[in-house]
């Protein structure tokens, strides 16, 4: 039978994306306004920097890279760490991770944008940006590591854009994505993620004149710290989404990410220790940057408070991660993640870039501290990234968890009811998961139960009126769902109910059933209705 339900096209997709991205409650608008303001303050500071020159920064010929490049380095790590979600989902076919992968991949996109902006604001002549673009410019590839970084960062951006767009587009249309069109890219992006951070480390460790950076441990250290900061950030995001609603995933992703940071946080501290021992024990002049960083030198102590705060934050967070009860204390978990996020931002941003210049190559001690302009621009860049990320999430999450036009059965009333069904089911999952009182959960459940029956009855009436041959089969399927719902009800009323497990069951078994049922079974009767006209 030909499929008579037309599939919506890209324009409609974009329209709905824009609708989702710009629609929200007061909190959403307040958040967006805040980010926009911070970003605009940054844009303004940058415009002034372009006009008056980089003299408005705290940099000079001795410390010639500062906050911008520090922030760049850090966010390359965040972008790379998005693969922490992808690996289990695809490599180990962990289906529960599949949906949440999108949160990580969208983060990679936003983080790369932050990286590219951070480098752009660091340029003395942004107007000559095109000198880097072949064939117009001169691209000093392969000898300049910076050209490698340009390639891998933009490649990574393109990869993630493609994967996200392709998967979301298919989800929206209700079609199955063709593995050939995205799986190879997913695996490529895993390797690629490692490459972006390795190349960024090579930017530094390839410089023989800067002993502080000229160590083979730099790339492994970058990766280790990235795999702390990245997952930590994603945990915070997932926890926030859980609080704010609109969180369509189970607890599994958070538990998995926590297992990862538990290990990587320790590896990261270990590597820092190894680095310190190697340099300090031998006591060569090569250790002078490290000594300046940790203890200060020749009366200069600019970075000492920073690095010790970073170490303290990372140690406390690593200890907290080891505590088994952490998963049950979302507030504390978020705090630990934020601590290590900030700790690593300091350690590998300011703590890594700046000491490379102090002492200078001719052993002069000139210190650096960022000016207000640099802070404004940096915060503006990060706000810009957060803005993009918010919009991306706002677009993607409803597509993952809710009714999309791709699920249309071509019957307006039935479409509206299906939409409500998804909303009710998601509300129930949220209520169960949020550990709200049994009364409230009961209310949501009753409501869903009533709505399901009503909807099924409407649908069945439609089928019988039109003389649909598959009515009996369809009835059986509906009855199965109602029984399952009753089973959930019973399980929830048990005194020792494992609510997380029930939430998972609701979330996966029932939502996936609904998706499949609408896509396949309901479409069949809809086609029948359509042919009858």
């Amino acid at each position: 039978m030909p499929n008579l339900i037309s599939r919506p096209g890209p324009i409609a997709f974009l329209r709905q994306a824009i609708h989702h991205a710009t629609d929200g409650g007061p909190l959403f608008y307040a958040w967006m306004t805040l980010l926009t303001c911070v970003a605009l303050v940054g844009v303004n500071a940058w415009a002034n920097q372009v006009v008056h020159g980089m003299q408005v920064t705290g940099m000079g010929d001795h410390v010639s890279w500062g906050l911008y490049i520090s922030n760049f380095t850090f966010f390359v790590g965040v972008a790379a760490a998005a693969v922490m979600m992808v690996i289990p989902a695809y490599l180990y076919h962990d289906h529960e991770m599949h949906d949440s992968v999108i949160v990580g991949e969208l983060l990679a996109i936003a983080a790369i944008v932050v990286c590219l902006l951070s480098v752009t604001v660091d340029l003395g002549r942004p107007d000559r940006f095109w000198h880097m673009m072949p064939p117009l410019g001169r691209f000093n590839w392969p000898i300049s590591m910076l050209t490698w970084d340009v390639i891998v960062l933009n490649g990574y951006l393109a990869l993630n854009l493609w994967i996200c767009a392709y998967l979301l587009w298919n989800r929206w249309r209700g079609t199955a994505p063709s593995p050939r069109l995205y799986l190879p890219f997913v695996f490529l992006s895993i390797v690629w993620a490692v490459s972006i951070h390795t190349v960024t480390a090579f930017l530094y460790c390839g410089l023989g004149g800067r002993p502080f950076w000229n160590t083979a441990l730099l790339a492994p250290r970058f990766l280790a710290s990235a795999f702390v900061a990245g997952p930590a950030l994603i945990i915070v995001i997932l926890l926030a989404l859980q609080r704010l609603g609109g969180y369509p995933f189970g607890d599994r992703p958070i538990a998995l990410l926590l297992r990862i940071v538990r290990i990587t946080a320790l590896i990261n501290l270990f590597m820092l220790g190894v680095e310190c021992f190697t340099a300090l024990y031998a006591g060569s002049t090569h250790a002078s940057s490290l000594r300046y960083l940790l203890f200060g030198a020749h009366g200069h102590h600019g970075l000492v408070p920073w690095i010790w705060s970073a170490i303290a934050l990372n140690v406390v967070a690593a200890a907290l991660f080891l505590w088994p009860g952490l998963l049950r204390r979302p507030g504390l978990l978020a705090a630990a993640c934020l601590m290590t996020f900030v700790g690593i931002w300091i350690e590998k941003g300011m703590g890594l870039v700046i000491p490379g210049f102090i002492p200078s190559t001719l052993h002069e001690m000139v210190e650096y501290s960022p000016t207000a302009t640099e802070w404004k621009i940096t915060l503006g860049v990060v706000a810009g990234g957060a803005l993009i990320y918010t919009l991306l999430l706002k677009t993607a999450l409803p597509l993952i968890s809710g009714w999309t036009p791709g699920l249309s059965v071509g019957h307006a009333a039935m479409d509206a009811q299906h939409r409500r069904l998804f909303e009710q089911l998601n509300a129930l999952v949220a209520a169960v998961r949020s550990r709200r009182g049994a009364a409230e959960v009961g209310r949501t459940l009753d409501f869903l139960d009533a709505y399901v029956r009503e909807h099924f009855a409407d649908e069945e009436r439609l089928m019988s009126e039109s003389g649909y041959a598959g009515l009996d089969d369809h009835r059986r399927m509906h009855a199965g769902f109602v029984t399952e719902l009753a089973a959930v009800h019973a399980a929830l009323s048990a005194p020792d109910a494992d609510r997380q497990a029930i939430a998972e069951r609701l979330h996966h078994a029932m939502r996936d059933w609904l998706l499949h049922h609408i896509r396949v079974d309901d479409r069949a009767y809809a086609s029948h209705l359509a042919t009858r006209g």
Partner: protein, 305 residues
């Protein structure tokens, strides 16, 4: 979207449109300072190709453009040339640490010759006061301010070493800096994007960035200029010692050498066996800075005694 009432929809849309307009307006206001920005470049200059792809005629035209620019901005006549390397010539520099007294006249001469920014007193040369008995720069001081030579000290001027294996040229993403045939490492100020990667890569602190537009009073501008050397630089680009190529490629000596009162500086053609610098390399106790880095400098230090 069957459930949304048309009225609510419209109000929302209007609000969203208002928000977007407000945002766009604020954005325009935020970037408004850019309108004061004068990169002082014509469209032709902006779209120019890389130095190495220019024909001699185009290069001449560009030099005329820089001259016209100087006339316009400073009201003075300057001569901008683009002398090319002489095949077979390889420049080198040697500095006699036994007789250098640390007077910094070389640094001062560099400052004037190369049209450096007056306010920051920039120079390509930094002179370090060193303790007798050590070559460790960690004990050096470039900010000394007392009569020289001081007792127990010797002096070590440092400038670009025009390395044969130059880390600075390797790292440049756009080939805005390169080593010419006669060994001189140059920067094209109109191609550099100002990323400062080369400054991080140089092990000898030889590079200088234009953190602001360099300012030299018109009356003090050295009108004898080279396109790749001492013409007044734009804001936001890298610069460095060029062995005064506008002089040395025409048979004259670097300004720093001429200014040196003790004769500590020896400049010449490393490829010419009869040159003074070759004699120094063959007969003196010569060393190079940070030899272990493999940069192969063509700037040498030596001691008499």
């Amino acid at each position: 979207m069957t459930e949304e009432q048309p009225a609510g929809m419209t109000r929302r849309t209007v609000l969203k449109a208002a928000g977007a307009t407000l945002g766009a307006g604020a954005f325009a206001a935020a970037i408004a300072p850019l309108t004061q920005w004068k990169p002082a470049e014509s469209v032709d200059e902006f779209l120019r190709r890389h130095y190495k792809e220019l024909t001699p005629a185009e290069l001449t035209e560009i030099c005329r453009r820089v001259e016209a620019d100087a006339k316009k901005t400073h009201g003075i006549d300057v001569h901008v040339a683009a002398p090319q390397p002489t095949p077979g010539v390889k420049f080198g520099y040697a500095l006699n640490l036994s007789i250098c007294v640390g007077c910094r006249r070389c640094a001062e001469a560099c400052h004037r010759e190369n049209n450096h920014d007056r306010a920051t007193h920039n120079s390509y040369i930094r002179v370090f006061e060193m303790d007798n008995g050590t070559l460790d720069l960690a004990h050096g001081d470039a900010t000394y301010d007392h009569p020289v030579p001081a007792k127990g000290k010797y002096y070590m001027p440092v400038q670009c070493h025009h390395c044969d294996n130059a880390p600075c040229t390797k790292v440049c993403p756009v080939e805005a800096t390169w080593k010419e045939q006669d060994g001189i490492v140059v920067v094209d100020y109109n191609w550099c994007i100002g990323c400062r990667y080369c400054e991080a890569a140089c092990p000898y602190h030889a590079r200088r960035f234009n953190w602001k537009k360099p300012e030299v009073p018109a009356s003090e501008i050295n009108p004898d200029q080279g396109y790749l050397s001492n013409r007044v630089r734009p804001q936001g680009v890298m610069e460095k010692c060029t062995f005064c190529l506008h002089r040395t490629r025409e048979g004259r000596l670097p300004a720093c050498l001429e200014a040196c009162p003790t004769g500590a500086r020896v400049f010449g053609d490393l490829a010419d066996p009869q040159s003074e610098i070759r004699w120094v390399l063959a007969n003196k106790r010569v060393f190079i800075l940070k030899e272990d880095l493999g940069t192969r400098p063509t700037f040498f230090y030596f001691f008499d005694k």
